[in-house]
């Protein structure tokens, strides 16, 4: 069986090499070539290098399921923002919402606010999931930090100080949806409700 493992490992590495190999060099195809004129072959990449390259190569921006436009309440006046709902990923234990907050004007602007949390906090705990199938409305888990008796921290992203047109990807971890929920409404204060967002499992 160990030999099988080695064979499988070798196959796996060969497969990786095949899918990452450079295209053939037309200058070197066919005909004799001297050692001096042969292009220098780069050293073969290790598994770690390949994985590093893959992870750093440029994460594709997740596609938006829907885009919302609205404003966040701030002491100096409302700030126009756009929100992309990126994904609602459900499991038996949790539900993870990924969304992107970006400037609604295309220009960098300050967005730090308590309007997505509760007074004095700048997290996004007020973001909610309305699970019609389960007749439940979920909010992100929170937790009680040391030396405190209140749940002053959230398993959700803080509101960034500022956003530009690119935006920042945000996260929020919720309790599980009903097992038969295929869509969910995403509620973000100050913005229209994103209705019937598909749930992936």
């Amino acid at each position: 069986m160990r030999r099988l493992h080695l064979l499988a490992g070798a196959f796996a590495l060969l497969s990786l090499a095949a899918c990452t190999a450079d295209p053939p060099d037309p200058l070197s195809s066919g005909g004799p070539s001297s050692e001096a004129s042969r292009p220098q072959q780069p050293p073969e990449q290790t598994t770690g290098q390949k994985l590093t390259q893959q992870l750093l190569m440029g994460a594709e921006a997740p596609a938006s399921v829907t885009t919302l436009r609205g404003s966040l309440a701030r002491p100096g006046g409302p700030v126009a923002v756009e929100v992309d709902i990126l994904a609602v990923q459900a499991s038996a234990e949790t539900t993870l919402l990924r969304w992107r907050l970006r400037s609604g004007t295309g220009q960098p602007q300050q967005v730090l606010t308590s309007s997505l949390s509760r007074p004095g906090l700048v997290d996004t705990r007020a973001v909610a999931l309305a699970d019609v199938a389960g007749n439940q409305r979920l909010q992100p888990f929170t937790y009680i930090p040391p030396l405190k008796t209140e749940d002053l921290r959230c398993t959700c992203s803080d509101v960034p100080k500022s956003v530009s047109a690119a935006g920042v990807q945000m996260y929020a971890l919720f309790p599980p949806l009903a097992a038969n929920a295929t869509t969910v409404d995403v509620v973000i204060p100050g913005l229209p409700t994103a209705e019937k967002v598909p749930v992936t499992r």
Binding site: P62, L138, D151, S162, V168
Partner: protein
Amino acid sequence: MQFTGRVRLRGMLLAAGLLCASLPGVASGNPRAQAAGEQIPVAGTFSYPGRFIDTEPEIRGAVHAVQRIPGGTALYYSVGSPASMPFNRASVLPVPSLDVAYRSVDAATVALIDTQGLGFYQPMIGRDGCLCPELTDFGTKGGELYVGWAVMPPLPPGVAKVSVVFGFGNQVEDVPVGDGPLEPAVPTSPNVLGQGWPALPDSAALAGVTNPAQFVRPLVRHVADLEQRVSIAEQPGQVDESLAADVLFAVDSATLTPAAQATLAAVAARVKERAKGAVTVVGHTDSTGTPAYNAQLSLARARAVQAALQPGVGSGVTLTPTGVGERQPVADNATPEGRAQNRRVTVTYRIGGG
């Protein structure tokens, strides 16, 4: 990974396919990938701008594994930046808050979440400081992924998956919990992905942690009905049921509406089933009106709820009413929605297991 025999073989073959299929880029999120030979597990990936400001260079990385080790739970992750720019290690993680005695250089703002046991697991601090690297232990070269780690308190035996919180709120969920430290362990700094795993603190260092339980913070689960008549927040050992005052009472009234009866009957049934010991009933208002009036109204409403609940919870449960007026808002009083959330009566009781 715990694959054996044929499963292991299939895993290896699948691993190559996964990497091939996902080239040239990995969509940020939680793809499950695994390097050939199962040497480098990847439970999920993340990307975010440094310092969480979208004009800063992007940080990318992965959560590799969560492993039970003697005396703790080890998290392995990696972070880096594309080759086109140096890696600004100071922008990777927020400075730890002053809640815990981490140092500003500690890579301590990582955590594990056990949503079943309702625990938020933070890195432990031993005699020699945080059981985590310093930010200066990461390298500065772009195009590399630097491996980081942290040791949290032991997870309960039955926990098979956790969520990982990284830095500014980035999350990777459903990370399987494995056994034993990743190998081979190499005592190098910086630790570059693919050149072995960081050597974790030895058993003496773990034994030097006084009261590991202090690094497990109570997690609070929030679930309401769709109309938000009742919002339940449960943490280990305690439940808070927040009842919308607009359902229970008319404006400026402390007389229960007919619609309140069904809601209160359900609350009473849960209290009777789960409550241990004293139960508090606290009235809250929004900031409309004077503080004195709000204090009076909130107390009157708490007493009305107490009276309605008492028959349903039985004589063995003591309900204590209090009114705090507008002093404990949970939402912004500047908006109608926020004021509605602030108008509430909370019923708080202890439960077993906390």
